[in-house]
Structure formats: structure tokens, C-alpha cells
């Protein structure tokens, strides 16, 4: 189960220290664009079932940068929502954070107690759920719920919180906030509820916004509006956004970088443009090929044969071995770790590896997140 960072403990602590320094520095002002806001390393989540403990998320690593969107892409059940809940500290009682670090501006959230974490929930980190109807408390007005964050963290009274709530509703584009503030969640349309949910998450201008399939339950037209709203809020607050989705099109349109998850593992990550143009993991490749582009009428749709492994039946070697067209003996024996990908010529494709120190990029140049993949054959994959 142990992977990359075990082999390089020194590297890991150095990175933590650097990130911590950066965090304290940035705490006073607004985060600068492209600063690394969140670094996740080696994250592992266990679920207890009555058949024993299963690992739902395994040595997941990625980073999110201010003003950028990182997409966590994967099928349902691949552990992406579980990862989001672990980041936000709202896992179900049967789940345990088994391992890993969640460095938010240098503070390791994974090492904090639940009580200490409350200070971060809201001002530093906000989360948006998929189903706004169940995510809003049905017995309170939206005003009460919107104002709660201000009452908890800023100690405002009901009246002041109400003013802030109205302001928030304006920010997320809810018409007539003064009259709608006393309405209950069920009195809003799906799109408006999602806006309220987003407003709640961004109430205290967090550095990190996690959006867990924020548009899945919505109409296509409303989806576009919500994504636009998220983009606007991200730019206004220079937030780092983690967008959890199974929709390749959304990733292509909205995200700067992507981490592809499969059976609880990140199998590939990097800038969206590069990953999509030049996938280095057979799963990513399979996903991209399953998108029907330039298809003739009547042509067969491509799909990935088989289905993901059961959580309590994950093979010892590569998690993708049962569906991989390139599977070899080594894939069955040894689980590939997430490692920097090199081009055919031997030089790294882009940027620095994810486990390394964040690169200080001179202003004017576009910093690039690392390009990594967890495949024994990521160099050969496109030559097949």
C-alpha cells in the first residue's frame, strides 16, 4: 500500500516545510494566482463493512492552485467523492482516514482533531454537494443557513448575518434576495438551490472550494450557468477549485489540470490539455476513446471492456490490470506508483513531479503542474 513518499521521506518533509512557510506568508493577504493552496499526499481512506475493512481511497496525491481548477475525474465508485469528503473532514462514520497528509496552506488537516478542523471549515475550505435539495436543511430558511457561517466564525448577530446573507445571494445571482431570503429550500428551483449551496460554500471567501459533481442533477442550460458562476467566483476570490466530475466535457472546458481516478487510486494527473492530448495511462486513454467524436452513423461506439474491481477484491498489482489491453506479468505482480512521466525522448514532459517542491515560477510564465501517471508502460502506451 505504501508508495511514492515512503521512498522519499526527506523530499516530503521539505515540501511540507516550504508549503507551511508559504501558507503563513499568504495568510494575511489574498492568495496570489497559481500559488499551491492544497497539497494532498498519500491519502488513504478505509471503509468498515461487515465483511472487513476495505480501502476506498489509496495513496492519492494531487495539488490545487489558487485561481485554478483541478478536476478529479472518474467513474462512480472510484473514490473521488470519498476523497472530497476526506478533504472537507465530513466522512461517514464508517470511514477512517487511514493515511496521508492534507496540506492546506501548510497546515496538515489530516493531523488535526475534529474540533481544530472546525476553524478551517468555512474560512479556508468550502464544499458544494451534488444534490442541493438534500444538502439544504429543509426546516430553516435559506437566510438562516446562509448566515450561519458568519454567526459561527465572525460572531455576527442575526441581523448582521442577514445583511451578509443578502449580499451573498446577490453575489451568486439570486434575484430579489431581500424577499427570497425568508423562503425555504423547497421553494426554490434546482438551479437556484445550487446557487444557494455555492453561496454557502464561498460565504467566507475560502481558499479552497470543493465542488462535488455540482451540476449533475441539473438541466443542461442550468449546468452552464452554474459552471459560469463557479468560474466567476473562482476568479474573484482567487480560490483553488477542486471539481469532482465524471464528465469529460466539463473537465475539458472548465479545468486547468486533472487527476484521473480509478478504483481509489490516482492513475494519471497533469494539465488537462496535455493529459487529454497525450494520455499516459491506458485507463485515461480508454476514457478518451470512448467519447464519440467524428463518428460515422452506425459506427460502433468504443467502450472499456469489463468493470472496475470490487473494493474488497482489488488485485495486488496494478488496479487496472483486469481491463487493460497492455497488461503484462509485471502489472500483476507490482502496483505501479504515480511517477513523473517522461516523453519518448527521456525528458520530463512538463513541470516538476507532484511530490517535489512547488516550483517558483517567474512572473509572466505559466506554471505547470506536474505530469504524472501510474503505469509501468506510460512511455510506450502511445506507441502501441
Amino acid at each position: 500500500m505504501k508508495t511514492a513518499t515512503d521512498q522519499a521521506p526527506a523530499k516530503r518533509s521539505r515540501a511540507a516545510a516550504t508549503a507551511a512557510a508559504a501558507g503563513t506568508g499568504a495568510a494575511t493577504g489574498q492568495a496570489k494566482a497559481h500559488d499551491v493552496v492544497l497539497q494532498v499526499r498519500d491519502l488513504a481512506v478505509d471503509i468498515r463493512t461487515h465483511r472487513g475493512t476495505v480501502r476506498a481511497v489509496n495513496s492519492v496525491a494531487f495539488e490545487a492552485r489558487a485561481g485554478e481548477t483541478l478536476a478529479l475525474l472518474g467513474e462512480s465508485g472510484c473514490g473521488k467523492s470519498m476523497t472530497a469528503k476526506a478533504l472537507a473532514g465530513i466522512m461517514d462514520p464508517v470511514c477512517d482516514l487511514a493515511d496521508g497528509e492534507i496540506l492546506l496552506n501548510g497546515t496538515d488537516l489530516a493531523a488535526l482533531t475534529a474540533k481544530e478542523r472546525l476553524k478551517f471549515a468555512g474560512p479556508e475550505l468550502g464544499i458544494v454537494f451534488q444534490d442541493a435539495l438534500t444538502a439544504l436543511n429543509p426546516v430553516y430558511t435559506v437566510g438562516t443557513q446562509l448566515g450561519e457561517a458568519f454567526r459561527i466564525h465572525r460572531g455576527l448577530n442575526a441581523k448582521q448575518a442577514r445583511v451578509e446573507a443578502i449580499d451573498l445571494m446577490k453575489r451568486v445571482g439570486i434575484p430579489e434576495p431581500e424577499s427570497r431570503i425568508n423562503s425555504y429550500p423547497h421553494q426554490f428551483s434546482g438551479g437556484m438551490r445550487q446557487r444557494i449551496l455555492i453561496a454557502m460554500a464561498v460565504a467566507l471567501n475560502p481558499r479552497l472550494l470543493i465542488a462535488d459533481e455540482p451540476t449533475t442533477a441539473l438541466d443542461v442550460t442550468v449546468q452552464a450557468q452554474i459552471m459560469q458562476l463557479l468560474r466567476k467566483l473562482r476568479e474573484e476570490g482567487q480560490m483553488a477549485v477542486i471539481l469532482i466530475t465524471h464528465d469529460l466535457a466539463v473537465v475539458a472546458e472548465e479545468a486547468d489540470s486533472v487527476a484521473v481516478m480509478y478504483a481509489g487510486n490516482v492513475v494519471e494527473s497533469g494539465p488537462v490539455s496535455e493529459v487529454f492530448a497525450d494520455p499516459r495511462h491506458p485507463y485515461t486513454k480508454g476514457l478518451l476513446e470512448s467519447v464519440p467524436v467524428h463518428l460515422e452513423r452506425g459506427a460502433r461506439l468504443k467502450s472499456i471492456a469489463g468493470s472496475p474491481p470490487e473494493l474488497h477484491d482489488i488485485p495486488a498489482g496494478c488496479v487496472y490490470q483486469s481491463r487493460c489491453p497492455l497488461v503484462q506479468d509485471i502489472c500483476r505482480a507490482e502496483r505501479p506508483v504515480l511517477r513523473p512521466v517522461t516523453s519518448v525522448t527521456g525528458t520530463p514532459v512538463t513541470g516538476a513531479p507532484v511530490t517535489g517542491t512547488p516550483v517558483n515560477v517567474p512572473s509572466g510564465t505559466e506554471p505547470r503542474p506536474a505530469r504524472t501517471a501510474a503505469c509501468h508502460f506510460s512511455e510506450e502506451i502511445n506507441n502501441v
Partner: protein, 332 residues
């Protein structure tokens, strides 16, 4: 109650969903077996099940074993205190003022008690459930009329009903069964109606309807299997209630009549000897309490075990045992 545990809860999406997929391959029998295995995992539930089996067996074969001990009077052994074998095993739990063995009377009374409670629950379950499912499936006037009838029964003083039956008919066990069943039908009726009304709007029922299935066929094939676990759990709880109700009626003198004997009646009869022979009231009371607690515990367990959305909770108590075992080793 609201069916609140539905979408958006990860535990039932992940572990349980996968669990079920796996079980599908092994067939139906495995599903039942694993329910049994789940029972063995819960110590409280296992003990409760054993107690209920024991009480059932006692009621079934006990009276035959006791012969005429329960009615044989022996004034030499009147009001003997319990917990001594000095007067023979039959007086281990003491004797009443007529020198009858408490042990034998308890055993005989268990049969009366169960032979009232079980049929009453069965009749109410059968009638109430079918009625409720039917009413909920069809909605409209059938539902309204049924609900009003349930309201009337529920707000009727059941004591009066019992007294009337006692006066007009003979106060036999069969009549008490009838009264108890009648007064408890609304409980199943309401629950079954609520569940069925909810189900009939679901897509799988719509799907069946588009195939041209008849209402009764849909009720039998699609609605009843889904509501049955809830109703059976309710019936287990109701078993407690009906047992207590029978005891109360017997205690008030409008239930089981002497020379028949039930646990409730024994408590009532022993009441006047409270100062001299406490065991006459206390032991039958303990029998009632132990049986009802066992049924209650089992019902609570059943409610969780038969609900796929809640089943994961049964995984929780073993937290400390398995938390440290890596996933690989915990795998069977």
C-alpha cells in the same frame, strides 16, 4: 416516517452496494445464510432469539411435561418460598396459597399467553397488511375510507370492546384474540398503506403497469415483497404490545378467566399476597418482561438487518477489532 436514508449517503452506495452485487452470484440461499451469520455476530440479538425459541418450546411441549402439576392442590406445600429444592424440583419457584407449583403454572401460562399473542398478531398482520397495501396502491376513495376506519378503531376505547365481548360472548381466549387483532389492525393498515402509496408511484411499478400487469398481480409481485420486511419487524414489536395488552386485560379481570391462567392473570392473582408471597406476582412479571425485551431486541436488530440502507450500521460495533487489520487480511 420519512424515508430519509436514501440518496447521497455514501455508506450505502459503496460497501453495501458492492456487497449485494457479490451476493447475487451466490444465489438467494446465501443471502438468507448471511442474515443468519449477521445475527450470530450480534450477541444481544442472538440471546434474544434463543430466549424466544426457549419460550416457544416451553409453550409447545412444557404443559405436557408438567402433567397436572399446575392444577394439583397440595395445602401441605402452600406458600412455599422459592429457590429451594427442599420440597422437590416442582417447588423450586415456590408455590401459591393452594400449594400449586409456581413453575408448573408459569409453564402452563406461557402456552395461554402465547396462544393469545401469536394468533392475534398473525391475524392483525395478515388483514391489516393486505388491506393497507390494497388501499395505498389504489389511493382515492379506497384509501380515504380505509384511513377513516382506522381512525375510528384507533380512537375506540378497546377496554369497552373487551368488556362487551366478555359480557355478550364468553370470555374465551379466542375472543380475546379477536379483540386484540381488531384493535391492532390499524397499525399495520397505516404502515402498509403509507409504504404502498409511496411504492405505487415508483418507476418499477409504472414499468410493471406498462406491461399490462393487473393491480393484484403488481401488489403481490412488486409491492408486498418490498413492504414485507417493515411489516414483519412491526409484527415483532406488536408481539410485545399484544402480550402486554393481554396481560393488562387479564390483570383487570376482563381477559383470560380462571381456571385458565396467563402470566398477566398470575400477576393479578398474586397481587393480594404481595406482603406474604412476593414471588406469586414477581415471577410471572419477570417472564413477561424477559419475553417482551427479547422480542424488542430482535425487532430492533431485524429492522436494521433487513434494511439495505441501514445494514452497514451492523458493521460498526466491531470497529476496534478490525480497524487495525489491513484490507487484504480482513478479506475472507
Amino acid at each position: 416516517m420519512k424515508s430519509s436514508l436514501t440518496e447521497g449517503v455514501a455508506p450505502d452506495q459503496l460497501p453495501v452496494a458492492h456487497e449485494h452485487q457479490n451476493e447475487k452470484n451466490d444465489g438467494k440461499q446465501d443471502g438468507r445464510l448471511s442474515l443468519f451469520r449477521l445475527l450470530l455476530k450480534d450477541r444481544f440479538a442472538t440471546v434474544s432469539a434463543l430466549i424466544l425459541v426457549f419460550v416457544g418450546l416451553t409453550a409447545l411441549v412444557g404443559p405436557a411435561l408438567m402433567g397436572d402439576l399446575a392444577t394439583k392442590q397440595n395445602l401441605l406445600f402452600a406458600n412455599k418460598a422459592p429457590f429451594t429444592l427442599a420440597h422437590g424440583w416442582e417447588y423450586f419457584l415456590g408455590s401459591d396459597s393452594l400449594g400449586r407449583s409456581m413453575l408448573a403454572r408459569l409453564v402452563v401460562a406461557s402456552r395461554t399467553t402465547l396462544s393469545v399473542a401469536l394468533p392475534a398478531v398473525a391475524v392483525a398482520l395478515f388483514v391489516g397488511s393486505l388491506w393497507g397495501v390494497w388501499a395505498g396502491y389504489h389511493r382515492g376513495w379506497r384509501e380515504n375510507v380505509s384511513m377513516r376506519i382506522a381512525d375510528v378503531i384507533m380512537s375506540f376505547p378497546s377496554l369497552l370492546l373487551a368488556v362487551v365481548v366478555l359480557y355478550v360472548f364468553s370470555p374465551s381466549a379466542a375472543n380475546i384474540v379477536l379483540i386484540l387483532a381488531l384493535t391492532r389492525i390499524p397499525i399495520y393498515l397505516r404502515t402498509a398503506r403509507a409504504e404502498s402509496a409511496e411504492l405505487q408511484s415508483r418507476t418499477f411499478v409504472d414499468a410493471a403497469r406498462t406491461f399490462g400487469a393487473k393491480p393484484n398481480a403488481i401488489i403481490v409481485r412488486h409491492v408486498i415483497p418490498v413492504v414485507l420486511p417493515t411489516l414483519l419487524t412491526l409484527a415483532t414489536l406488536e408481539f410485545c404490545y399484544v402480550m402486554l395488552a393481554e396481560s393488562s386485560l387479564s390483570f383487570l379481570g376482563i381477559g383470560i378467566q380462571p381456571p385458565d391462567v396467563s402470566w398477566g392473570l398470575m400477576v393479578s392473582q398474586g397481587r393480594q399476597y404481595l406482603q406474604t408471597a412476593w414471588w406469586l406476582s414477581i415471577f410471572p412479571g419477570v417472564a413477561i418482561v424477559v419475553t417482551t425485551i427479547a422480542a424488542n431486541v430482535l425487532a430492533a436488530w431485524l429492522r436494521i438487518a433487513t434494511d439495505p440502507a441501514q445494514r452497514w450500521r451492523l458493521a460498526l460495533p466491531r470497529k476496534r477489532l478490525i480497524a487495525r487489520i489491513p484490507a487484504k487480511e480482513a478479506k475472507p
